[in-house]
Each structure stands twice: as structure tokens, then as C-alpha cells.
Subunit: 240 residues, 2 copies
């Protein structure tokens, strides 16, 4: 937790916040930051500014801070992620990772090789998404939650929605058998499509290609999705 | 498991192997590959060649294959990793990741901010390292285990051993406050040093710098080690 992320409901007046009881932030502030009265912490308000929290009262039941907000959050990564639904326990790590990388728009989609039972997971809801994205924001000192949408039908999404979504971006789909290698960075905004475990099927690759995606080879080695994402982002963007 | 990794002890003669009983490979071959007699699988022999396994007998107790070895494993990534000891449950994912990325030489080291209790973990042994590295090899279709060494004293390692280790490589240490940005890829072999949670302390950065490391800024966002590694590898190498 390199930044303590506050929500508007933590504020008791325009510049003071209180965190109570078993809030994991209080536990972290006490046990990791080992904060005392007078300690200054980096804080941010969800979807808003970043600044300093000066602790005016703290024990195991309460933390009170005076907040001064001075800076904008870091710029978003110019990347839209289209990703096949992953195993829910992997998805939570992926959400933390992509949120930490600064991606602000994510579509989680159905594909042929997505295990159908994943869609019934009770974890596939906005509250769960938000919880894991917040961990990524706290890590990378950001405040802006990504927008996450799910699409349970591949064909209508790719044909009817994607052409609009990728407008003004370089759309790339990673495919280990592709001939084209990764293009040199050109500063463009990117839409990156990533398949499920086992990859997209040829029909899906073809559909993505027909609807504006370049099929790109990122290397021969097949890497798990949660590591492939930061690997590809490292390649695609000179700065994050 | 994109490649079934065999050990010499699986062979019953020069070109036949048997996997018995509750071996996780047999479970995977049955449940994921849904293999039958006549199915051909990609196989490799630990630290040796890659080829095809033709299944000649299979049920829940046994799998017999005729093995034809034809190809060399993929080339190693020209990268030496020097990494502070991480929380053991994170370390296992990191080992799987770096092994999948093709890194073949890893030093796990003590630094000031490494939680001292981590060194007492029963998991810090070669058998555990190997187990998790094998998962990465199976994923990325490689057979060659990385060599992993631990060093419990920072100063003698950096002063007495590192200058020799980094010879002929470009030695980089990632530091979020560094002024130099990541250098353009030059095809050189790289030694990459990565700190613990919370980073290297200034003294350690200075010591690494004095002993041949360039201090490099990989971006403002602070990313967890397990995602920083593939992110940095994506930046550093045009191909893996």
C-alpha cells in the first residue's frame, strides 16, 4: 500500500477523514507503516486527487487524518484491454495487475475455450472487480478505477461493438503462431486482445482480424496470461 | 502443461517411458489433454531434447509412451536475475514465471528490507525451487532448469562475487527514483537486479552502482515484483 486510498465516505468534513476498527487500511497503517500521531502518509481520493494525510489520532480502533490534496493521479496508460474470462482466482490477480499498470478500460469476454462454469462464479461482479483493482491502485499510487465490462457473446461483441471501441487505436491480438512480430512503439493508443488458457480458436482470430486487429507474435514462449499482460505492456509502452 | 516434461527415471528403455498412478502429469494428460491410445503429445526430457510422445497405453493408473526426440529446447534468455528474497508464496510464482521466460541463472539474495523470517522458510531449498521452475518450463515448452543460488550476505556478494558475475553483461538495477530511463535494446546480455518489497535502501543502490550496475528508472508506477519481472523482460528483450 504505497498510497492510502480514501473514499468520499471516509471524510467527516472537507479536510478530515476517519478510518475505523477492522478496516484493512488501518491495520496496514499500524503494522506496516508503523504510523504515529504526526506521521504523514501519501493518500488519494478514489477517482480524484492525491496528496498528504497527516495523522492526528491513531490507535487500533481509529485513525484520523488531516488531508491536503495537491496532485492529479498519474496519467492513464493509453491501452484498452480485451481479455477472455480467466479462472476467477487468476482473474483477481490480473485485475490487480492491470489496474496497477494504469489500464482504465477492460472488456472481459466469452470465447470458445473459456471454461463455461467461470461465468457462474459469484466473484464476477463489480464489487469484486473494484476490490481487486483498488489493491493495484494502492500499489502504483493511482486513484482512478478502471471501467470493467463483461460480454458473454463473442460474435456480436466483435462484429457490432469492437470496431467502434478500437477506433483511433492500434488493435493487436497476441497469437503465438502469428508471422508478424511486435511493431515498434509509435505512441499510438493500443487495444490489446488476449485469449483464454489455450488461446483463441482460429475462427476467433480470423474474426478479430476481419474487424480491425493485427495478429501479432510476441515470442515463441507461451506465458501465462497474468505474466503475459505486464510482458506485453512492457513491450508496447515506453513509459507507464 | 504445453509440454510434458520427462525425467530420465521415467524411461523403461531407450525410447519408452511410463508414468504411474497419481503423478500430476498423468492426471493432466487424462483430464486436460483427454489423451487416448494413439494421441501424440509434445514432450521433453529434463535438461535435454524435445520431441513427440506417442501414447501406447493409458488409463488412470498408467501412461506408456514411445518417445521420439528431435529438437533442441528454445534458446535461453540472455539474462541473469539477481533478486532479493521474496515472501515464499510469492517466490513460487516468481520462479514459475522466470523459468517460463527462459532465465537460466538466478541469485536470490539478502537485502536490508528482506523480512528476516523468510530465510527460515522450509520452502527455501533446491527441491522446492525445481518443482516450481518445472511448471514454468512445461508452460513455455522448455526443458532446461535454471540454476538458482541463494546468498545470505549482501555486501560480500556484491563486492566479491557480482563484479565477476556481471562481466560481459549490461548490469541494471531497477529503482523508481533513478534519473536514467531504460536504455534501448542493444542485444547485450543483461544482469537485472530487483529489490525486495519496499525496494533497495540507498546504501545498497550505491553499492550496486559502485560495482558496475546502472541505476535505471523503468517508470513511475510501482509494480509488484512478480509483474515487474515480465514487464522489465518485455522491455529489455525483443524476443523471448
Amino acid at each position: 500500500m504505497n498510497l492510502v486510498l480514501l473514499s468520499p465516505s471516509d471524510f467527516i468534513n472537507s479536510n478530515e477523514i476517519v478510518i475505523h476498527g477492522k478496516d484493512r487500511r488501518l491495520i496496514h497503517i499500524l503494522n506496516v507503516h508503523k504510523a504515529k500521531i504526526g506521521t504523514k502518509l501519501l493518500v488519494g481520493v478514489l477517482n480524484s486527487k492525491i496528496g498528504t494525510g497527516l495523522i492526528t489520532n491513531i490507535d487500533k480502533n481509529i485513525c484520523k487524518m488531516t488531508i491536503t490534496l495537491t496532485d492529479n493521479p498519474p496519467p492513464p496508460l493509453p491501452c484498452i484491454l480485451v481479455i477472455a474470462l480467466q479462472r476467477p482466482k487468476v482473474l483477481k490477480r490480473i485485475l490487480e495487475c492491470v489496474s496497477g499498470l494504469g489500464i482504465k478500460k477492460i472488456y472481459i469476454i466469452e470465447t470458445w475455450r473459456v471454461e463455461k462454469s467461470f461465468w457462474n462464479s459469484p466473484l464476477l461482479n463489480q464489487k469484486y472487480f473494484e476490490k481487486h483493482c483498488i489493491l493495484g491502485l494502492e500499489q502504483s499510487k493511482d486513484t482512478v478505477l478502471p471501467s470493467i465490462e463483461t460480454r458473454k457473446k463473442f460474435k456480436p461483441f466483435v462484429e457490432d461493438e469492437l470496431p467502434q471501441i478500437i477506433k483511433g487505436t492500434k488493435a493487436l491480438v497476441a497469437h503465438p503462431e502469428a508471422k508478424n512480430v511486435f511493431p515498434a512503439f509509435s505512441g499510438e493508443k493500443v487495444t490489446l486482445a488476449i485469449g483464454p488458457e489455450g488461446g483463441f480458436i482460429p475462427y476467433e482470430i480470423e474474426m478479430l482480424n476481419k474487424n480491425g486487429f493485427d495478429i501479432i507474435n510476441f515470442g515463441k514462449r507461451i506465458i501465462k496470461t497474468e505474466w503475459f499482460i505486464p510482458f506485453a505492456i512492457g513491450k508496447l509502452f515506453p513509459n507507464i
